[in-house]
């Protein structure tokens, strides 16, 4: 599972139904299986929800949450590290700072590889849980007007969400400061019409979903470019006064100021439920990968 592009709409919807079945459950479906959790880059939600998902399915988890303390620090190559994990586990979940790391791991390993985020590239399981969250909230995704706000240039969650949501018949509004607009290679993958703007006030009243993302400070090669765009948007409860009453605000988290805490107590806030959905969605995905559905 390297990219959301590899997943069909039908496969997504089967996954959503299975995720619904998994909510709050503990099973022995993956008893005796070991998941290697190879996080070369920091993570809270993705790593812990994958680990929780595997344990709730009766499986076990090995791994690391940074390259410190591993042989990578001694100079071992990424590919050799993956070759070892391949022999110690039944599935590898990988996060890495370099784009294409998961695809490389999938070439090297014989066991399945799940991309848990590669640089600014892809984050397919985040897109799955994002789409699942919308599907649960509205009962469907087709017909909705979806705005995606923030760093669409470097954000892998935003990129994967854009690719995932464009499998549906939605009205898509991409809202970002001009330097943070989507990259050409992502733009060419969007199979539906979309509008690009940085005028949130104008498009907000039309939106059913506002998906907010953090500016990816760590991916800017030039710090002065980051300084130009940092804090260029912030959602508060006042911002949402002109929104539809059923608008939901989502965020892949962590947030660092893009959504004020005043939004948390409004009925629009869906981001904590969204993060919680990571567990049933990843349980469903692991079941599909091991063929126990």
């Amino acid at each position: 599972m390297i990219s959301i592009e590899d997943v069909s709409r039908k496969e997504l919807e089967d996954l959503f139904l299975l995720a619904d079945e998994m909510r709050g459950r503990r099973t022995d479906d993956l008893k005796g299986k070991i998941m290697a959790s190879a996080f070369f880059e920091p993570s809270t939600r993705t790593r812990l929800s994958f680990e929780s998902a595997m344990k709730r399915l009766g499986g076990e988890v090995i791994g690391f949450s940074s390259s410190e303390g591993t042989s990578i620090d001694k100079g071992e190559s990424f590919s050799d590290t993956i070759r070892m994990l391949d022999r110690y586990s039944d599935v590898i979940v990988i996060r890495h700072r370099y784009e294409g790391a998961a695809r490389r791991a999938a070439e090297v390993a014989e066991v399945p590889v799940i991309n848990a985020g590669d640089g600014r590239g892809n984050h397919p399981t985040q897109a799955m849980l994002d789409l699942y969250t919308i599907w649960r909230k509205f009962g469907c995704i087709d017909g909705l007007t979806i705005g995606i706000l923030g760093d669409l240039r470097y954000g892998r969650a935003a990129n994967s969400f854009i690719c995932g949501v464009s499998k549906y018949k939605v009205r898509l509004k991409l809202i970002s400061p001009p330097p943070l607009r989507i990259r050409h290679e992502v733009r060419s993958k969007i199979g539906i019409d979309f509008e690009e703007t940085f005028d949130l006030e104008k498009v907000l009243p039309e939106l059913d979903v506002l998906y907010v993302t953090r500016i990816q400070k760590e991916r800017f090669s030039d710090p002065s470019e980051y300084e130009k765009v940092k804090e260029s948007y912030r959602i508060t409860s006042s911002t949402l006064m002109k929104a539809k009453k059923d608008l939901v605000v989502m965020h892949p988290l962590p947030r660092v100021g893009e959504i004020d805490v005043s939004v948390d107590v409004t009925k629009h806030a869906l981001y904590f439920d969204q993060a919680a959905n990571g567990v049933p969605v990843r349980m469903a995905l692991l079941k599909v990968i091991f063929g126990v559905v």
């Binding site: 784009e99 294409g100 790391a101 290679e185």
Partner: protein, 154 residues
């Protein structure tokens, strides 16, 4: 028509190179060619098809398909004539390949193929022929003809 460069007995004539690109074509071929073989370069000659074109003649060398593919990346209209005993024995039209392995280096510094501890042969897949665009199989970054030509001629 007067001959600017004499005919070759055996070897390869690379014709219809975009005017001004002949030196780049030579640079992306095996550097040993330049060291050991007789090489003739003709630039900016008149062409009915192209207005102006460049021609490269290399004696005693028949280009391999891989070398022909490399030429396609920077001069997609070039034609390759294999010469045997002063006659054109074979005419090969360069074809922009669907996939290029190991020739182009990804421009994205954080592509896994550029990881300092990794030794990964790059793979690029063709997105479009005109304009020429290739996409890195690993990270998805795209490279246009101009970027490829610039890199290959370094």
């Amino acid at each position: 028509m007067s001959l600017i460069v004499r005919r070759i007995r055996n070897g390869t004539v690379i014709d219809h190179i975009k005017a001004g690109e002949a030196l780049r074509v030579l640079e992306i071929l095996d550097p040993d060619l330049l060291m050991e073989k007789v090489v003739a370069v003709v630039m900016n000659v008149k062409s009915k098809k192209m207005g102006r074109k460049d021609i490269v003649k290399v004696e005693e060398v028949e280009l391999t398909p891989e070398q022909v593919n490399k030429i396609a990346l920077i001069s997609p209209r070039a034609t390759i004539n294999i010469i045997r005993n002063y006659q054109v024995a074979e005419k090969r039209y360069v074809k922009v390949p669907d996939r290029v392995d190991g020739i182009i280096r990804c421009n994205n510094p954080t592509c896994i193929t550029n990881h300092p501890k990794e030794s990964i042969r790059s793979v690029f897949l063709r997105v479009s022929e005109d304009p020429l665009i290739f996409r890195c199989y690993y990270c998805g970054s795209e490279m246009k003809r101009e970027e490829i030509a610039k890199q290959l001629s370094r």
